[in-house]
């Protein structure tokens, strides 16, 4: 009926949107931690992966899909909090390479332990929604109930984060301790707790992403499932500006769509190369990121 909806252009656009939401969520979780603690968390893919394994492992004990998702997210909160208290707390104020090195070590340990416990064979999760695309006049639209699930979940998480940070007292405290920890402490904000909470929220957002990625029929859950998604999420966050949650989301979605076109018109090997070239170009042209206000460095 409407050939536009099934055209190659719209197909790529919609296909890219689903990936883009996942990249955007990872980028968002990176930005949340970067803004509050000035650490780029290289384990931001592995921690949610581990939480997802913990939650989804209960599937073998005949727990339903949705309770498992809830437990995964709870595990994400817990892992985020414990990590901040035990691993990250000693690193504040150290040279900037120390947290990078520790988080990379943590990433490898988590992936290794996950593979040791649950093996590297992909584990397929029950699919809550059909991955079969809707048809329109005998041709598929690149949109399935599962894709809608991903996109809607993404929108819910983004709205929840926005409401939390912009319209609640807790959100104000979180932002205040990120921007001016000393002043916040004087005004009675428990800055230490806020930092822990920031890591918990960020890991939970990551866990939602990991659940979405692992629920995908074609990938399944593996210890390395978040590696490439993390790389794309970082690229999106760096292009958008590491300070800007909006930038991270928008660039994640843009990156997803652009890369879908690359997959379609070139090949899937070129995807990460194009993403790298985009990152290089954007850092050359606008180093601080597209969406950040120009900040001058304090001496």
């Amino acid at each position: 009926m409407d050939p536009f909806l099934t055209s190659r252009f719209v197909t790529d656009l919609l296909g890219g949107l689903t990936n883009g939401v996942e990249y955007g969520l990872v980028a968002l979780s990176l930005v949340l931690i970067w803004r509050s603690t000035g650490i780029l968390n290289f384990a931001q893919g592995a921690m949610p992966m581990f939480a997802t394994y913990i939650g989804m492992g209960l599937l073998s004990y005949h727990v339903g899909y949705w309770p498992c998702v809830a437990i995964s997210i709870a595990a994400g909160f817990a892992i985020g909090g414990v990590t901040e208290r035990v691993l990250v707390r000693p690193l504040y104020g150290k040279p900037e390479i120390n947290p990078i090195v520790v988080m990379v070590g943590y990433l490898i340990v988590l992936e290794g332990v996950a593979a040791a416990i649950w093996s590297t064979t992909p584990r397929s999760l029950p699919i809550p929604f059909s991955p079969i695309e809707w048809q329109l006049g005998g041709k598929p639209i690149a949109l399935s109930p599962f894709d809608v699930y991903v996109i809607v979940t993404g929108v819910i998480v983004m709205t929840a984060i926005t409401i939390l940070f912009q319209f609640t007292k807790l959100g104000l405290q979180l932002r205040a301790s990120a921007l001016a920890p000393e002043v916040s402490r004087l005004l009675g904000v428990r800055v230490g707790r806020m930092l822990t909470l920031g890591w918990m929220i960020s890991t939970a957002v990551g866990t939602v992403t990991a659940v979405l990625v692992a629920s995908n029929f074609f990938t399944g859950l593996t210890p390395q499932v978040m590696d490439s998604i993390f790389a794309f999420g970082f690229i999106a966050a760096a292009i958008g500006g590491l300070d800007s949650p909006v930038g991270a989301l928008v660039m994640g979605i843009v990156l997803g769509i652009v890369l879908q076109f690359v997959t379609d018109y070139l090949n899937s090997n070129s995807v990460i190369i194009v993403a790298l070239v985009m990152l290089i170009a954007s850092l050359m042209i606008r180093p601080s990121g597209i969406f950040t206000r120009n900040a001058s460095r304090r001496v």
Partner: protein
């Protein structure tokens, strides 16, 4: 040594060298082997004696570094004549790895940045060697290795130019993306890189005739071959360390260390921050590629599955454990790498783990990752840095 006069010192050194040479001649199996042993022992002991001469380090630092490197190289070369094939092969692998580690150590020690993509840069060098050797098999090794080094420098410059201008984790993130992407990048040039199976070098590196003749006629070809591989790697490593030691101490090296410690002060005295950072990263990538090139020569083949992200993490762990930012740290890391596989399989065999089980296959990553975290949290200077600090504080304590 302080109590001896310089003449008595010289005499005792000469005596030690002569005695060692005589022992070597008596024990040697043939005239050639005796000659070679005498040369190596003389260089090793003479170099060591010269390097420990009081005042030489302060007065002629370049000569001091050259004699120290020559002495170490000669001593190790001499050792390789007697070692069994597997040990020599481990030695060669460790030497090639220590070149890679040296580059990363320099990057961090001199400019305070870090790269998570050194495994991929190693891959650049290894594939450069393999591709070049497949097209021009008659090129001398030294030229092939220089080409690999240049390739690494070019790729490093491309990636480093945008990322190193910025403060913050951009270089780390970008090199991580490069490491994750490297397999896909190789895959896009399948006709050059040989696809998933990788490339075989057309001719294996074999020792020249006169080296083989030095040994008993009964010596297995494998033994002399692996000895030759170890010798080549050790020679290249020695040269690489000599250049790096000079670079560390040079004007450029000092400027980079100032950037690491206080970049604002560095800018105020007129050092160009972006240029120095790019330079440091380019040099470190070139070293990684050189190490990768030697690795390709040793293994006689390259495969894309070697140069994945976990290799980059292993490299990072090795240099952090050895002592990041130090030169001896790279050597320690290389030795750890050469024997890590043996140690881990020993642990697997002696702890009752199922060797085919999940845990056994992940042990390498888990151990290196855990060591990385523990070292960074509790002894961020690594083995070399901690020992150095302990030694210095003890000396100060003794002085009172």
């Amino acid at each position: 040594m302080a109590s001896l006069t310089s003449r008595r010192r010289l005499a005792s050194i000469l005596a030690v060298v002569v005695v060692a040479d005589v022992v070597a001649v008596v024990l040697a199996s043939s005239a050639h082997a005796a000659l070679l042993s005498v040369v190596m022992i003389t260089i090793a002991l003479g170099g060591a004696a010269a390097a420990t001469t009081p005042g030489l380090r302060a007065a002629h630092p370049v000569t001091w570094r050259a004699t120290l490197c020559a002495a170490l190289v000669a001593a190790t070369l001499w050792l390789t004549f007697f070692l069994p094939a597997t040990t020599n092969f481990n030695l060669a692998t460790g030497a090639s790895m220590s070149i890679v580690l040296l580059g990363l150590s320099f990057l961090t020690g001199a400019s305070g940045q870090i790269s998570l993509g050194n495994g991929a840069f190693m891959g650049v060098g290894a594939f450069a060697v393999a591709i070049w050797a497949n097209h021009h098999s008659s090129t001398p090794i030294i030229v092939t290795l220089l080409i690999a080094t240049a390739c690494g420098a070019i790729v490093g410059l491309l990636l480093g130019l945008p990322a190193t201008r910025l403060r913050g984790p951009y270089l780390a993130g970008m090199t991580l993306a490069f490491a994750v992407a490297f397999t896909a990048i190789l895959g896009s040039f399948n006709s050059w890189t040989g696809g998933d199976s990788g490339l075989q070098l057309p001719v294996a590196l074999t020792p020249p005739r006169w080296i083989v003749d030095l040994f008993h006629s009964g010596t297995e070809i494998l033994t002399t071959n692996s000895m030759w591989l170890a010798d080549i790697s050790i020679l290249v490593t020695g040269v690489a360390f000599f250049f790096m030691a000079n670079l560390f101490a040079s004007r450029t090296g000092r400027a980079m260390r100032l950037i690491r410690d206080n970049d604002v002060a560095a800018e105020l005295v007129g050092i160009s921050l972006p240029r120095m950072r790019v330079l440091a990263f380019t040099i470190s990538s070139a070293y990684a590629a050189l190490g990768g090139g030697v690795y390709a020569l040793i293994n006689n083949a390259v495969s894309p599955s070697t140069f994945t992200f976990p290799l980059s993490v292993t490299i990072l762990s090795l240099i952090v454990i050895g002592g990041i930012g130090t030169i001896p740290g790279a050597l320690i890391g290389g030795i750890i790498y050469a024997y890590s596989a043996n140690v881990i399989s020993w642990i697997t065999n002696n702890s009752g783990l199922n060797p085919q089980g999940n845990l056994a296959s992940q042990l390498n990553g888990i151990i290196f990752g855990a060591l990385l975290i523990v070292t960074m949290l509790f002894a961020p200077l690594g083995i070399s840095g901690s020992v150095h600090r302990m030694w210095r504080s003890r000396r100060e304590h003794r002085r009172g």
